[in-house]
Symmetry: C2
Subunit: 125 residues, 2 copies
DNA sequence: CTTGCCTCTGACATGGATGTGAGGTTTTAG
DNA sequence: CTAAAACCTCACATCCATGTCAGAGGCAAG
């Protein structure tokens, strides 16, 4: 499949796909004329990359983790495995942060609602 | 307290504090000579702002929520309350995403560990 | 062959929070 | 009084994923 189709099927812009390649996160076969061709599995790979970006990882960080994902049995994955565990911890911490933040929002909303009700009682009176 | 102390106590750069003010998220009393002065409570406010930034909200979004937080009983908080509920939903969705991503990382790590063990058996043999 | 769409490279633009530096005033400590 | 440290404003720089545009080539259908 060519880049346009991969873009459509993964919901990522053509521009971004080229960028991922530039960052070493995605590879492609080139036709004699230089056009990129992708395998079916690349759709899922791109979705995975998107997921990591959404989780706040940078291209560089993702690049460091990929050896672990791509060839999980090579010895270079020892370092990648550590790196991955480290990112997992960061992610967990971030999730905890967000849960806390959500609680704060809930508290603020509850307070606001109480205030609003109080105001409405005044209006009703 | 002056801006340097607030920065130190909240762990945010002086630059950022001025930026928050510029974005309407933080206010300060000015001394006759123009220096900013803050109240004790502003430390916590800045921490809260940081939290919202970390949760991925933009200055503009935070600004829209603040009426709700600052004066929970005014009528302008009706819109802010909706906005807030909306952001809360986004946040929940994001958290769910992150949990899923963490699961994927866990799966990748498990696979990598299996591969590594297999390799080590080879070495041992 | 031509028209239209897709792709290529390369480069510049964007947005948002923050860093950084210049040039000048205020505050504080000795 | 003086020197150091903190503050002021203004403006330009940075990072990073993307958008966007220009100019050129590739490829299928009429």
């Amino acid at each position: 499949m060519r880049i346009g189709e991969l873009a459509r099927r993964s919901g990522v812009s053509v521009r971004s796909l080229r960028y991922y390649e530039e960052q070493g996160l995605l590879t492609s076969e080139r036709s004699p004329s230089g056009q990129r061709h992708y395998a079916e599995g690349d759709v899922e790979r791109v979705l995975f990359l998107q997921r990591l970006y959404t989780a706040g990882l940078s291209s560089r960080t993702i690049h460091e983790l990929l050896p672990c994902v791509d060839s999980p049995s090579l010895e270079n994955s020892r370092a990648a495995l550590e790196r991955m565990a480290q990112e997992r911890e960061k992610l967990s911490a971030h999730i905890a942060e967000l849960l806390h933040t959500r609680d704060l929002l809930d508290a603020a909303m509850a307070a606001a609602r109480r205030g609003k009700e109080c105001l409405e009682e005044h209006e009703a009176a």
